[in-house]
């Protein structure tokens, strides 16, 4: 004890309703430390011999893992958690297990929940099984109960949080899913505090399938530090480092919304379903517009000085009284990406998405596809209950999103619930059309709000293509950055409040202070690289291969037509060279994308080699 871990993992079997406290994770913490890499190892151990399970089935373990720094008083390192499971959204081009094939899936979120799990006396939550009736989990300083949530099922997230706060006190923190995830929408999010969302990766629909409405957590204990000697000094020092960083004023002032105008001006925003890179209505829904007309309150995650969460309220017009956390930068997926031009409409859309529990990026891609398919006559208003799905028409778009949650009769909405690529394939199959160009996905997972055509180099292409959860804007623009990001994810560090100002140097100090270990920056990066390789091999076992690590055709074919980057497009031949260089840099075979035995052995992952060999045999047999 007291080496940084409580040695307690909450294990819940939703099928039987049994709650256990175990130390399942402890045998891996020395090697994988915590957070995301530890969750990757736990998933691998649970599913390595049965990788083809249905992600929506009882075998899929859904984890909520705060990092090793979770619950500490260090800003940017304290507050986050990662939700981790076999993804409920990603798809392979040639899957081994049909629709059950998917990648690993994870989403991270800030707020207070990551801190609270640790402060309540636990290192994480591990949920298996499927319940027949809705449940929620109540954690209060070492006590855990699985309770009936029938009366809350169907509630919006904000209403559920309010109900829970009224029941358990205003210092409880709630994470929950909304109607979107409850009804099996793959682009849904696990949301806390109205606007902090673990949206990506398809974890929320898995939570919905398990019928776990939410987790209510109260904790107020200090985490089990190795020693508290020098804690106050370290807190002050880390605070100084954060306040000394050049970007702190920028982050505090704008939050991520700074990038709305910044990226639009650089031609790399998602506009018109990633067709363009510059928002023609940036003066109405860009950074300055939301700062001056919308935001009323800054909010912070636990212990963080950045206060980058912004709450806004629409005070005039048709949509007055709508309020939302945001727009964050990624909200561009629901603004510029749909050609919304009015702040009131934007506000209504953001509020709707937060309330119903959509992943704003995922739904941005799916509705983006639908808008463009509608424009090109692939789908008509007859197909979608008479909805006139036109660019920038907020009311009709909200109707469409509503039907995606609640319409169980119209099969097209059933397809849309599975995500963009799935819907595209079904629609094209039925209608004999070809709308694949409008599906801006990698591995069935939507692009985030960063365009690739206007990028000056291949950084964004690399994050989107090679991320283990499908298109992802967070995992780093080079191999080194990816390994570092995964290393930081042992503490589920925030990229803005944590990684950027602190860097690996200070992160290693925090880890060593909390655990009493003596890890170097290189040690931590190796943990990150190991986790990356484990996830890659898991994806291989599901049939993901080199052709899945590619960009949608639009990236190469549709040059931007307006803005400062007009004419920009990704050079496919050159990108291909970059892909090969990437695989070589990773120590993987550029021809197949599979990790080589030598690389795995070098990382101490010898036990993965037979699994890789099995996949190679299986693929050879297909031919």
């Amino acid at each position: 004890m007291a080496n940084g871990y409580w040695e307690k993992l909450i294990e819940i079997d939703m099928t039987t309703g049994k709650v256990e406290i175990t130390d399942r994770h402890m045998k891996y913490v020395e090697e994988y430390l915590g957070g995301h890499p530890l969750a990757a190892k736990l998933l691998w151990e649970a599913l390595k011999d049965n990788p083809g399970i249905d992600p929506y089935g009882p075998e899929n373990p859904l984890m909520f893992m705060p990092g090793i720094t979770g619950g500490s008083p260090f800003g940017g390192a304290a507050s986050r958690y990662v939700a981790y499971c076999k993804s409920g959204i990603t798809m392979a081009k040639k899957p081994f297990f049909g629709e059950k094939s998917s990648t690993i899936g994870y989403g991270t979120s800030g707020g207070k929940f990551g801190a609270r799990i640790r402060q309540a006396g636990f290192d994480g939550i591990y949920v298996t099984g499927i319940s027949t009736t809705p449940k929620y989990l109540y954690i209060n300083n070492g006590k855990v109960e699985l309770l009936d949530a029938s009366e809350y099922w169907g509630m919006t997230q904000i209403a559920f949080e309010k109900a829970m706060q009224e029941k358990y006190g205003y210092q409880t923190t709630v994470v929950s899913i909304g109607p979107a995830a409850e009804n099996g929408c793959a682009m849904s999010a696990i949301v806390s505090e109205g606007g902090r969302a673990a949206g990506r990766g398809g974890c929320a629909p898995v939570m919905g399938a398990k019928k776990l409405k939410g987790i209510v957590c109260y904790g107020d204990q200090p985490i089990p530090y190795k020693t508290t000697e020098g804690l106050a000094e370290l807190v002050a020092d880390i605070d100084n480092v954060q306040w000394s960083h050049a970007a702190i004023g920028y982050r505090r002032a704008f939050g991520s919304s700074a990038s709305l105008t910044n990226n639009s001006d650089n031609g790399i925003e998602s506009v018109r379903n990633h067709r363009e890179g510059t928002n023609p209505h940036d003066d109405k829904i860009g950074t300055a517009a939301v700062i001056m007309n919308y935001f009323v309150r800054h909010r912070s995650c636990h212990a963080c000085p950045l206060r980058c969460m912004k709450w806004g309220v629409q005070k005039t017009g048709k949509y007055k009284g709508t309020m939302a956390e945001g727009p964050e930068y990624e909200s561009a997926m629901n603004g510029a990406n749909w050609l919304i031009e009015d702040l009131g409409e934007f506000s209504a859309i953001m509020e709707y998405i937060e309330d119903r529990g959509y992943d704003l990026i995922g739904i941005g891609g799916t509705v983006g596809y639908a808008l463009e398919a509608y424009e090109n006559g692939v789908i008509t208003s007859n197909d979608i209950n008479g909805i006139k799905l036109e660019w920038g028409n907020a009311d009709e778009i909200i109707k469409f999103m509503d039907a995606m949650i609640y319409d169980t009769k119209n099969e097209i909405f059933e397809w849309f619930r599975h995500g963009t690529t799935y819907a595209m394939q079904k629609i094209d199959e039925k209608k004999g059309t070809n709308s694949s160009k409008f599906a801006i996905d990698v591995k069935g997972h939507s692009f985030a709000a960063h365009g690739v055509q206007g990028q000056p180099n291949y950084g964004r292409c690399i994050t989107y293509s090679f991320s283990n959860r499908g298109a992802c804007h967070m995992v780093g623009t080079s191999i080194a950055a990816q390994n570092t990001m995964y290393a930081n994810n042992t503490g589920v560090m925030c990229s803005r409040g944590g990684n950027t100002p602190l860097g690996m140097k200070h992160y290693a100090r925090l880890v060593n202070f909390i655990t009493g270990r003596n890890l170097t920056e290189e040690d931590l990066v190796t943990i990150g690289e190991k986790a990356w390789n484990i996830e890659k091999v898991f994806n291989m076992l599901n049939g993901f291969r080199r052709e899945d690590d590619d960009l949608p055709r639009r990236s190469f074919e549709d040059a931007l037509t307006w803005g400062p980057k007009a004419g920009a497009v990704v050079d496919e031949a050159d990108w291909e060279k970059n892909r090969n260089a990437y695989y070589e840099g990773r120590g993987w075979d550029p021809e197949t994308s599979y990790p080589t035995a030598g690389k795995l052995q070098e990382l101490g992952l010898d036990d993965l080699v037979p699994y890789v060999n099995d996949v190679i045999k299986k693929v050879a047999a297909e031919k």
Binding site: Y170, G194, P222, L231, A232, W311, D355
Partner: protein, 265 residues
Amino acid sequence: MKDIQNLNNLKYSNFSRRSFLKGAMAIGGALALAGCQPETVTKTVTVTDNKTVTVTDTKTVTNTVTVTETVTKVEPAAPTVAQYPSDVPAYLVGASYILPDYTRCVGCQKCMIACSLEHYGIDDLYNSNIQVYAMNFKGAYVDIPVLCMKCRDNPCVKACPEKVGALTVDSKSGAIIIDHEKCTLCGLCIDACKEERAGVLRLSRQEDKVLGFCDMCGGTPQCVAVCPDNVLQIVSKGSSIDGRNFAKKPEVIGQQIWNLLYAVE
């Protein structure tokens, strides 16, 4: 005198505001030290007159520590009254209570961390004298910091039975000081605060102490120092309205602030 004897525990060799305050806490009431250039951990303490305490190391070193008037007033009874060190900056002298700007609190809880680190050396949020509530009203969040407002009519002090007399009010700072040795844990002060005011008082986790009295960290409130948004302001006693006006339940303040920020006509 037994409290003075505890000066043995003060580590003068690493004298800083922070370590001084911790030491001061250990003797149950802050002594005022001035011009002290400490050198060695001491072994024995002798009171030479009403103004000074001579702290003598058994081997060599002698430090002279000035004790302010209030301590001499309560002599010979055990000193339980907090005071400001005489080197407090002028703008803090006479400070009365800390008023949050509720419209601007971002809910980072750094004040809770600082309070707990200051008083206990660890970020134990339960023990923090200031508590921040992240409250959800009708779709949007507000964060409401709540702490002891040092109400001038002191319902908690009045509630404390006369024969117990565990609560006293510091004449300079208005801080309510609890003598944990006298306290019988009857809970009457907790009830009084809960029924009449914000309800900041509570039992410690081990149920062996009453927590929640803000002692202004002896003059340098760490919550104020650490707040990234300057939400917390020290309101001087002479020129301000009574803190009791703000000693309201967090949900009451929260609802009002929500209306102020988010409500639309």
